[in-house]
């Protein structure tokens, strides 16, 4: 192999976006290639959205985008123009929400890295669409946790969804 002739890396095209984040209007000009997760974390400094894989597999970066659970690591910031986003920082304006409290009471977290993703998935889905014990597992099956073995998380969701294990 020989040294390549100098290739120029083209500067990114920038895109203006208007987006509502945790209830506040945000106007920004973003590089076209900037990941949504990086926009939230590095530009808005909402670092509660964690990046675990940048491949859309682990679910740690899940946010609420117009009511849907979405992986912010495989979307571009430029795609969310006109949308409303909620991140974990916007889940509760005061204290912990009932879902967050259930995680705390049931030891539903250890290292906490995956936790915002679980919370955002759960706060976005409709429990009625995920009936029974299997429904709980199905609802969180797109979020990986390496610490808890899911025991505390499952108990937290049962509590938050008022769903006894034997039901």
């Amino acid at each position: 192999m020989t040294a390549p002739t100098a290739r120029r890396v083209e500067p990114s095209v920038e895109v203006p976006i208007s987006v509502t984040v945790n209830g506040e209007a945000v106007e920004a000009v973003v590089p076209a290639r900037q990941l949504l997760a990086d926009f939230l974390r590095e530009e808005l400094r909402l670092t509660g959205t964690h990046v675990g894989c940048e491949q859309g597999i682990c679910g740690a970066c899940t946010i609420n985008l117009d009511g849907e659970p979405v992986r912010s690591c495989i979307m571009l910031a430029a795609q969310v123009d006109g949308s409303a986003i909620t991140t974990v920082e916007g889940l509760s304006s005061e204290g912990l929400s009932p879902l967050q409290q259930a995680f705390k009471d049931n030891h539903g977290l250890q290292c906490g890295f995956c936790t915002p993703g679980f919370l955002m998935t759960l706060s976005t889905v409709d429990p009625d669409e995920y009936p029974g014990e299997e429904g709980i597992r199905e609802a969180i099956s797109g979020n990986l946790c390496r610490c808890t073995g899911y025991g505390g998380i499952l108990q937290a969701v049962r509590t938050a969804w008022n769903r006894p294990q034997d039901a």
């Binding site: 890396v9 675990g52 390496r146």
Partner: protein, 793 residues
Amino acid sequence: MPDTFELGGRPVYTGAHVTRRQDDALLSGQGTYVADLRPSGMAEIAVVRSPIAHGRITAIHTAAAAAVDGVIEVITAADLTDVAPYPNFADAYTQTPGTFPLAQDKVRYAGSPVAVVLAEDRYIAEDAAELVEVDYTELPAVTSLEAALEPDSPRLFEDWPNNRLLDLQPDDSEVAAILAGNRVLRRRYKMGRHTAMPMETRAALAEVHGGRLHLWCTNQHAHIARTTLSYVLPLAERDIRVVIPYVGGGFGLKQHLYPEDVLVSWLALRHDRPVRFVEDRAEHMIAAAHARDHMIDIEAAIADDGRILAMRVQVVQDLGSAEIFPGAWCPALTTAAHMTGPYDIRDCVVSVAAVTTNKTPGGSYRGFGVPEAVFALERFIDEIADEVGADRLDLRRSMLLQPADLPYTTASGALLDSGSFAESFERVVELGEHAYQRADARYRSDPDSRIGVGYAVLFEGVSPTHHGASAHWMGHESCTIEVQPDGGVRVASGVTDQGQGTTTFVATLTADALGVPMETVRVELADSDATPYGLGAFGSRQAVIGGGAILLAAAEVRGKVKRIAAHMLEAPEDDLVIEAGRVHVAGSPVPAVTMAEIATTAVIRTIDLPPGMEPGLEATARYEPELMEHTPDEKGRINANAAYANAAHAAVIRVDLGTGEIEILNYILAHDCGRVINPPIVDGQIWGGIAQGLGGTLYEDLCFNDLGQPQTAFMDYLVPSAIEMPDLVIEHFESPSPNTPLGMKGVGEGGTVGPAAAIGNALAQALAEFSPQIHETPLSPAVVRAMILDQPA
């Protein structure tokens, strides 16, 4: 145990369901991990990694990358003229890889760091990294431990005589004589290549403040990291501060000081600006420590009833390229130390080899050699039972250590001072047989299902010496407790928290040992400037050894509190109790003095102290377990741990004959970690450990092809989700150790250890009609289906 290891009063928090300290922050997105730090002026790096497994570097072309707008510098090993290779303190018995942060001359695994681009942000750094061209002369790759053992195998390190970094061949003449006179059974077992896969990848951020290096990193030990940095960088330890903020899981993988930790430090010093590295998951798959990848050969002399009379074992661990610090040969030694299990097997000799291959360096991972030993031994016992026609449960009963056998020193030198080996086993058998019968009744008429139950019973060394890993650091832990004038408490310790709840544990023990409300205790961990020198997190040690240091420091402070209070209350010291931050005569809550009044006296109004007493109300203590040994005796025996936990596992499984899928119907575990401090945290450790153990048994495997190319992406490395995880039945036994503070043992790894053995044995029963050969993990559907078809997978 001296009474200084007691709590000093009636515990309020110890043993109770205490919620964790960090949870409010973590649940609202306020926990600050390394990747969340962004000091102004920060630059970022991208690492250029070798695409080949083995080759000689002939040229590195960096000019095109350096010319990209926003690139600050591109460096290679040749630039690191003032950096030393990692030391090898074990050079008396191991070969030295001479690990350097960037590849010098040769690359030995695909993923090896070759060059680093420093740029204004990660996007630019990655763009430029693609423009770095490296010329290699490829060399044949060694891609399996069998190949590495071949006499004519290509060598990774040309100045070594072979690929054996470690090769311990103890005298086996006594065991050989027993083997020669008895029926001998031989089996080979292998465990696949795993990795810890914490949800947070590795990260490091280096800054320079007043000429000092501040490294924020994901490492599991602040002080070992600081000392190691001083070995490789031209810096004095006093000029290095290591801080470990919130960490997203460690599991051993973050025990190593990685090349990127050194590189961001070197670049921050060189450019006098903050430099950050955040690993992406694709890098993590090839550049963060791998683990397991063991082969175990057992030869055993067996009696007519199947009892093991003597064992000769060879353990071989595949280290990958071994370019990691601290070194990674210790799991093989740990496997060797656990080969007899909790059975009365007096004659067992184990040889250990750790070999280098052209794969990602192996390192630490929860379980650390024990899952391998338990899988091999517990499968072997079931196979003996089949061979001699014995009942596998009765065969275990005939060898299991009974309460009257304790204390018992194993053939490897482990001192089992307490435990519930037989009792926990019987409880799990009772529950397991019941669950099996229910499952059998339910599926008996289903022609596509087969049901099996499998058992594993085990002990696990916890709170180990670090000597095996580093041949340098030993086993102590430290703690400083300071009562401040307002009565509040600051406790600083060398232990660290990767999410397992260490912070809460430290606050719990400190509050109970001082008799103060927990909310008045502030915990400082993992900042080398703020905490006394400690060894941090590894080997399920922090409760036992860290706890011992807390209790020692607290006892000293408590004694002084009582002496001052006795003076103030004009009451005999021995009559006093401390409760909820107030000191009074036992049985009469008034009059009392508060911790604030006592501390104000000790620190500010020292004129009111008892005559001759020194001012101040703080203590620093260090605890090194007395019975823990650091080097083996002439026969290779060593009591390498402060304590030994035990457990019994049972798995009831359904095998789908059509797909080969294993469904876990019931998973039952009886565990014994001695005195429990926080029940939910203990349960959480067990659940998480079982999930990792199941992952490695059924799904997880890091594969390489014949060229040494990694074949497993994150998508293929199947970390169990909530769908795969069974419900657990957990039975608690509590056999306090007479030799540890409060009788505590460690619980961090136990769950990981048993699943491979329990499920392997359940599968053997379920598929008995097919005479399956179950000697390896993972037991993926393809592997199981091949057993059913009696064809190679």
